[in-house]
Amino acid sequence: MSEFSVEFRGMTKKFGESTILNNLNFGIHKGSITTILGFSGAGKTTLMKHILGLVMPTEGDVIVLDNVVNQLGELQLREFRRNFGMVFQYAALFDFLTSYENVAFPLREFTKMNEAEIKAKVMGLLESVGISEVAATRLPSELSGGMRKRVGLARGLALDPHIMLYDEPTSGLDPITTHTVYDLMRDTHRRNQDRGFTSIIISHDIHATLKYSDYIVFMENGKVVEHLDVESFKKSENPIIRRFLEL
């Protein structure tokens, strides 16, 4: 068993002539909160899509939970993706379903749970992210941005994933809600840590990253500039990182 949940081995991604990710060699520690940090256009989201097998590398390998993602067939990939939960930038809740139905959706699709079991699980998940019974009956359009993120988190956790991915989870939120959402992410991580739960956050929020992460991967122009634990990152002399830290 690898010490990494996710590992990139000589991974390069090109779209046409342009190289988006360039010869990445690093691993994300199992059980850690790792933030992938960088300016817009650094390749963070493309990197995340490789982890999920939504995009395949041009060269090299992506190894996730001991699976070589780029060698999996389409049906295997669909099965493999059930290892993940994901919170999208704008939550991506299904707008035709209530909060409750959104969280119940993966359970109905992939488990044989009966309605009573689904209800117990969904209400437990919604409660754990601070969503009331009243809010559970509302459509996503009737919820605030922060509440949508919480419901998105509950939906992501429904199938007890091994890896939780957060794509810019606090963009568009006010500073207080931002910290509430980060607290929630950290609490969720701690509750599931005993089973090797890994949280991967895509962000450009340096302050929240320093407060909540175990490791930071800093990217620029498709390359990893630094991959360090938080304390080492704070002390980094790399001028790009210094500039980012001084923002």
Binding site: L54, R82, M86
Partner: protein
């Protein structure tokens, strides 16, 4: 600019345009076969199919009713005006019914469904695309083609012959009202002449066309939805393209289907 440079620019522009359209056609063909492939793979989502059948079929009945009754009535009236001069007004029944069965019912139903359902498909899927809901499905391990495109395409394919059949019956009723009740053609002669000139092959021709149109409207609507880019503007553009291409396709394919079916039916 000299003539050579001007010609080069024009030829280059034409080449780019041809390549873009060929690329689009390739993507559309790829999308169609991909969706057909996933249509025969489990899980089969019957609830989603019935939801789409309800939306495209049941919810379209009223507009089909209005379109068909007035189409039948006005067509009967026009035939009467033309045929009265040669004392052939008793042929209103067969002419209207044959036209409805072979052409008007499938084509006008197709145009109604392309406008109503093709637009809805593109808008629903397009808005899901721009709000990352399709990505959310994929990340969960759910095939978005199978979940979103297959039920809509099958729904349109199954609903269209039913709607076309309803169009034929109501259109016939509209023409009967004008022919028998307004123009006062003898009812027995009216219906008997239809029996003399019409056969089941004509009805089959219309239903086959309607089925093909339904499939194409479904594929075009979902394809446009999946290919939406940008935000609300992109959704609007995709919806517009779904309606325009859906309607054009119905009219163009009708010509070729008519030629083909005339040989085999």
């Amino acid at each position: 600019m000299d003539i050579k440079a001007f010609a080069e620019q024009r030829i280059s522009g034409l080449g780019d345009s041809v390549l873009t359209h060929l690329n689009g056609l390739g993507n559309f063909t790829n999308f169609t076969f991909r969706t057909l492939f996933w249509a025969i793979k489990p899980p089969f989502r019957f609830k989603l199919l019935f939801d789409q059948l309800y939306f495209m079929g049941n919810k379209s009945v009223f507009i089909i009713f209005l379109t068909s009754i007035f189409t039948g009535a006005v067509f009967a009236f026009q035939i009467y005006i033309g045929f009265k001069a040669i004392n052939a007004d008793s042929f209103i029944g067969p002419i209207v019914t044959i036209a409805l069965a072979k052409e008007l019912a499938p084509v006008l139903s197709g145009l109604v469904v392309a406008g109503r359902c093709g637009a809805a498909m593109a808008a629903q899927i397009g808005s899901m695309k721009v709000t990352e809901q399709i990505d959310a499905l994929e990340v969960m391990g759910i095939n978005s083609y199978q979940y979103l495109a297959v039920p809509r395409i099958l729904g349109a394919t199954l609903a269209m012959p039913l709607l076309s059949g309803i169009f034929l019956l109501i259109g016939y009723w509209g023409s009967w009202l004008i022919g028998v009740k307004v123009i006062q053609i003898d009812e027995i002669m009216y219906t008997q002449k239809i029996g003399d000139f019409m056969n089941l092959g004509m009805v089959a021709e219309g239903l086959i066309k309607a089925t093909v149109f339904g499939f194409l409207i479904g594929v075009i609507g979902t394809y446009q939805g999946f290919n939406v880019t940008g935000g609300a503007e992109g959704v609007g553009k995709g919806t517009n393209m779904a309606v325009v291409w859906g309607m054009i396709t119905v009219l163009v394919v009708d010509f070729f289907l008519t030629s083909f079916l005339a040989k085999i039916l």
